[in-house]
Symmetry: none
Subunit: 156 residues, 2 copies
């Protein structure tokens, strides 16, 4: 069995029905498996992505850590679809506004959250000297980042 698979299994074993998140020390885990610390990052990057239903957070420095949170529910799966398929590399303001309105209507986000998201992708928020294409690209990144935050909230 591959090292990566062992590490993946090990981490998943730490998460039960109840326990939807684990916190670990990168160096300790690497030590335990006798591998390079960066191997842990590889495992996270290939097996604990949002697509896989996980979100990771971390902190450097003294007392640093890596936290892995499992997020599996229908709402987060729909959002993951939007993030990966629907939005793509660029999106116009009109499209974004429509998408946000739908999310509010389906109660996946509150009206307040919708208002903030609309503001973030609005023209005033993107008034730097950029081409329209760049603005659409920036809007897509912003929107995807915000939706990821919603997934995080949905069970974080």
């Amino acid at each position: 069995m591959r090292l990566s698979d062992s590490i993946e299994t090990f981490i998943k074993a730490l998460m039960t029905e109840e326990e939807t998140s684990v916190e670990l020390k990168r160096n300790e885990l690497a030590e335990y498996f006798g591998c390079a610390p960066s191997q842990i990052n590889y495992v996270l990057a290939t097996r604990f992505t949002l697509d896989d239903g996980y979100i990771t957070e971390s902190r450097r420095g003294g007392g640093g850590y890596i936290r892995i949170v499992r997020v599996v529910n229908s709402a987060s799966q729909q959002l993951t679809y939007l993030i990966n398929e629907r939005i793509g590399q660029a999106i116009t303001e009109a499209e974004a506004v429509r998408l946000i309105a739908q999310l509010v209507e389906r109660k996946m986000i509150t009206p307040g959250e919708g208002g903030i998201m609309r503001a973030a992708v609005s023209a005033p928020a993107l008034s730097l000297p950029m081409t329209d294409a760049m603005k659409d690209a920036q809007r897509a990144r912003s929107l995807k980042a915000m939706l990821t935050a919603v997934v995080r909230q949905a069970r974080g």
Copy 2:
């Protein structure tokens, strides 16, 4: 838990609803936590800044002290200050995160809204090929637009 976090928690525990300020002796506190006195300054500098909603004053010499005062502004005053004065033309991610955290703490926005705002000013949301200065400028516009939305919602 990190020493800095313990000290932060300790100080915050001394401030209640009505008690908006604490006065302490740097050396005593350092003694209590068994650390270097300058560690206290580090905690103040990283967790009790104006962006965090605190003002600190101190005096040296015999009978010296450090006083930490929690700033109390009305919600609308705070938002106006942030939009018109604090944020300006550019802001770093770390600074933005603090301002947002404070809004959540003061219940001016929900944790969900805070998470979305944080995402909108985060590095992944601004990963287009821009210089750091441009990112800080973009972040400022985005944040101000979102805060303006919050102001609008408070009224409407």
